[in-house]
């Protein structure tokens, strides 16, 4: 296959055959959650598995659950030190929370390429650029995955009420929730032919990527509240599967509810019958690209905002963002979704186009205006029409 097309000027097309001429390389992967979390961390782990399959001379060392709850008093940078001491020649941090650690590691080990999945320190045009030659950022354009998910949600809701189980509030999550809303609104108006006033789209933030009793809201409760409150479709942005688990319970109890999972392609498995779909990450191609560069000594600091392969959204070798459809999606709705994806891919549908307003009524985009990458990445507020706090 071919590696992911990216919007980075340095991205190169190169043959994907396994070239034994390249040096053996140990990659140290630092995961914020458990390697088998059926979510975010597992997608990274599987992405690296993909790389080691493609490049047998690449060895993977990983440490999971690197977060202050699971490993108190351990910092990501310390784990990186240990991995480097064990021979890792390239380090990947997989969470937004590691931005300081990634920078610290890159500074402390200038000869070790450091990849921070999510984050913007390597983005020259971004707000937080740090001139660190061995630090890169990689992030798929999940906003499109979210738009598709939002559309699927709007196609399936009977009550016109969509719930979003949000993690914590930051630029990334605001971006993704807004994207989901844009997708929902579009499909609600254009395919369901209904008035946007009749669409309720509500986000409840639990405060972290997973539940910590006494610290975060309980996602189980939040999901229950959604389902009991008439939100018959809930999409989730957290790492843990409460939305699915509670949907299953509600469905078993006779409620007509459905859910959308997040991140991993097997996300529907918990309750296949009521699963609408899963927007998924596919880190493999981007990681493969970066690691090949490192092997050939050509690693450079870059900001990779990797695009989906619109021709074949779920192609594991080319598309960094995908959407796995669930059983609950009817053939008719499948057709609408195909239309929507096609439109996004060929540019006939551009949802980042004005006029759009923020929650507080100020302009996000004036009529006819198209969002810049910075406007998309740094989303200071949720969009008008979304219920739930922005800050």
């Amino acid at each position: 296959g071919t590696p992911a097309p990216t919007n980075s000027p340095t991205a190169q097309q190169s043959p994907a055959s396994n070239e034994p001429t390249q040096d053996a390389l140990t990659v140290g992967l630092i995961l914020v959650g458990p390697q088998n979390d059926a979510g975010w961390s597992q997608t990274h782990y599987e992405g690296m598995k993909y790389v080691t399959q493609k490049l047998p001379n690449v060895k993977l060392e990983y440490v999971d659950k690197v977060n202050p709850a699971d490993r108190p008093n351990i910092k990501g940078s310390q784990v990186a030190d240990d991995l480097i001491a064990k021979g890792a020649k390239l380090i990947i941090f997989n969470s937004d929370d590691f931005k300081d650690d990634a920078l610290e590691t890159a500074k402390k080990h200038p000869d070790v390429p450091v990849i921070h999945a999510s984050g913007d320190y390597a983005w020259k045009e971004g707000k937080n650029y740090k001139n660190q030659p061995n630090l890169s950022n990689i992030m798929p354009q999940m906003e499109y995955g979210r738009m598709i998910a939002g559309c699927a949600a709007a196609l399936n809701t009977q009550t016109g009420k969509i719930g979003f189980l949000g993690p914590l509030i930051n630029d990334e999550t605001r971006r993704l929730v807004s994207a989901a809303y844009l997708g929902s609104k579009y499909c609600w108006e254009n395919y369901r032919k209904k008035s946007p006033q009749d669409l309720k789209f509500k986000v409840t933030w639990i405060g972290f990527w997973f539940n910590i009793p006494g610290v975060t809201l309980d996602p189980t409760k939040v999901a229950d509240d959604f389902y009991n409150g008439g939100y018959d479709v809930v999409m989730t942005g957290i790492d843990t599967p409460e939305a699915a688990v509670q949907a299953k319970k509600a469905a078993d109890a006779g409620k007509d509810v459905k859910f959308l999972h997040y991140t991993l392609k097997t996300g529907c498995d918990l309750a296949p019958d009521i699963c609408i779909g899963v927007p998924i990450y596919n880190w493999g191609p981007s990681y493969l690209e970066a690691i090949k560069q490192a092997q050939s000594g050509k690693f450079q600091s870059e900001f990779v905002w990797a695009k989906p392969d619109w021709q074949n959204l779920n192609n594991p070798d080319t598309s960094t963002v995908g959407f796995v459809r669930g059983k609950a999606l009817s053939p008719e709705n499948n057709k609408f979704l195909d239309q929507f994806i096609k439109g996004l891919g060929d540019g006939t549908i551009n949802l980042y186009k004005g006029s759009l307003k923020f929650q507080d009524g100020t302009d996000y985009l004036k009529a006819g205006e198209t969002a810049t990458p910075q406007q998309i990445w740094y989303m200071p507020q949720l969009l008008a029409g979304i219920e739930g706090p922005s800050q």
């Binding site: 709850a69 809201l217 309980d218 509240d225 009991n228 688990v245 109890a253």
Partner: protein, 321 residues
């Protein structure tokens, strides 16, 4: 959103806490503090889930969790009752040890899907206006917890064995002098309480937070300990405390959209602040003074309802001879 719906969710999802809190209440009423609640609930959740998954039998899952809970309690009982070591120290160590042990042993079953308690609406009762929707449209585990609350209360205050249970927590030497086998009963109730805490864990992993992951129920054990005190060792009030906690949690998510200016932490911290406040209010001398003017019979009733004096022998070792 419909207030009944919020309340019914809050009540149902408080079920694991009900089990844990009642387990702790029974243990403490017998004079033993089981500070290991945090670890016990985690171990119960882990083993309950693993067993139910591999045997595909929910009952076995709950049974296994109960046995694990009782086993942990047995270690505490042996150390505290037989070896007469500090209950606090042993319980605390067990809390930390079992938390880590659950992560260590439960690693292979993280985030796999497993069986869950099916929902079951109680025939007839579910149709009672308001109450039906509030209480009787969940599952058997929830109904069991209602019965457990009532039974525990009845047992404490209306049966001979219950009177003995309170007696050994108040004055073990006096109870011994009246022919009670204090050591045996303390073992029994500590194990029973531990078993209930184990079941609480399974109630999480097989029902209300279905599944298992590292530190799956972290925090709830400490919360249960706090609620028991809030409840003044009275099963009804303890249950009320657990429900209140559930309702506050629900309110937190409701409040996020209705009053976004209030930080979420206010609601998550509120139960603890509330617990401390209640403790201060009810254990202070001022309360006694305030009750003074009431006629004695009323005063006794009120005092019993708001009393937060712990069982007199709570945490103390019993050394006859």
């Amino acid at each position: 959103m419909d207030i009944i719906v919020i309340l019914s969710t809050a009540i149902a999802t408080s079920t694991p806490l009900i089990f844990a809190c009642l387990g702790e209440t029974i243990t403490e009423r017998a004079g033993v503090i089981n500070l290991s609640a945090e670890g016990t609930v985690l171990m119960g959740a882990m083993t309950g889930f693993a067993l139910a998954k591999y045997t595909n039998n929910l009952l076995l899952g709950f049974l296994g969790a109960a046995i694990v809970g009782a086993t942990i309690a047995a270690i505490l009982a042996f150390g505290a009752i037989t070896l007469k070591q500090s209950q606090i120290a042993i319980g605390f160590v067990l809390a930390l040890l079992c938390s880590d042990l659950s992560s260590f042993l439960g690693n292979p079953i993280v985030r796999v899907s497993g069986p869950t308690v099916p929902s079951f609406k109680l025939p007839l009762l579910q149709d009672v206006p308001i109450l039906g929707q509030l209480l009787f449209q969940s599952d058997l585990l929830v109904y069991t917890s209602y019965l457990l609350i009532l039974f525990t209360w009845f047992y404490f205050y209306r049966t001979r064995q219950g009177l003995l249970l309170r007696a050994i927590g108040e004055q073990p030497y006096s109870a011994f002098a009246r022919g009670t086998n204090v050591v045996l009963l303390r073992y029994l109730y500590t194990l029973l309480g531990g078993a209930l805490m184990g079941v609480a864990g399974a109630a999480f992993s097989l029902d209300f937070k279905a599944g298992w992951s590292h530190r799956h129920t972290a925090g709830y054990g400490w919360i249960a300990l706090a609620i028991v005190i809030f409840g003044g060792w009275n099963p009804l009030r303890v249950a009320l405390g657990a429900y209140l906690f559930g309702i506050l949690q629900s309110l937190a998510s409701v409040a996020q959209s209705t009053i976004p200016d209030v930080p979420t932490q206010v609601f998550t911290v509120a139960p603890f602040a509330l617990m401390i406040l209640v403790l201060v209010l009810t254990s202070s001398e001022g309360l006694e003074q305030a009750l003074k003017p009431l006629p004695p019979s009323v005063r006794r009733l009120v005092a019993q309802m708001i009393r937060t004096t712990p069982p007199a022998a709570l945490g103390k070792t019993f050394e006859p001879d």
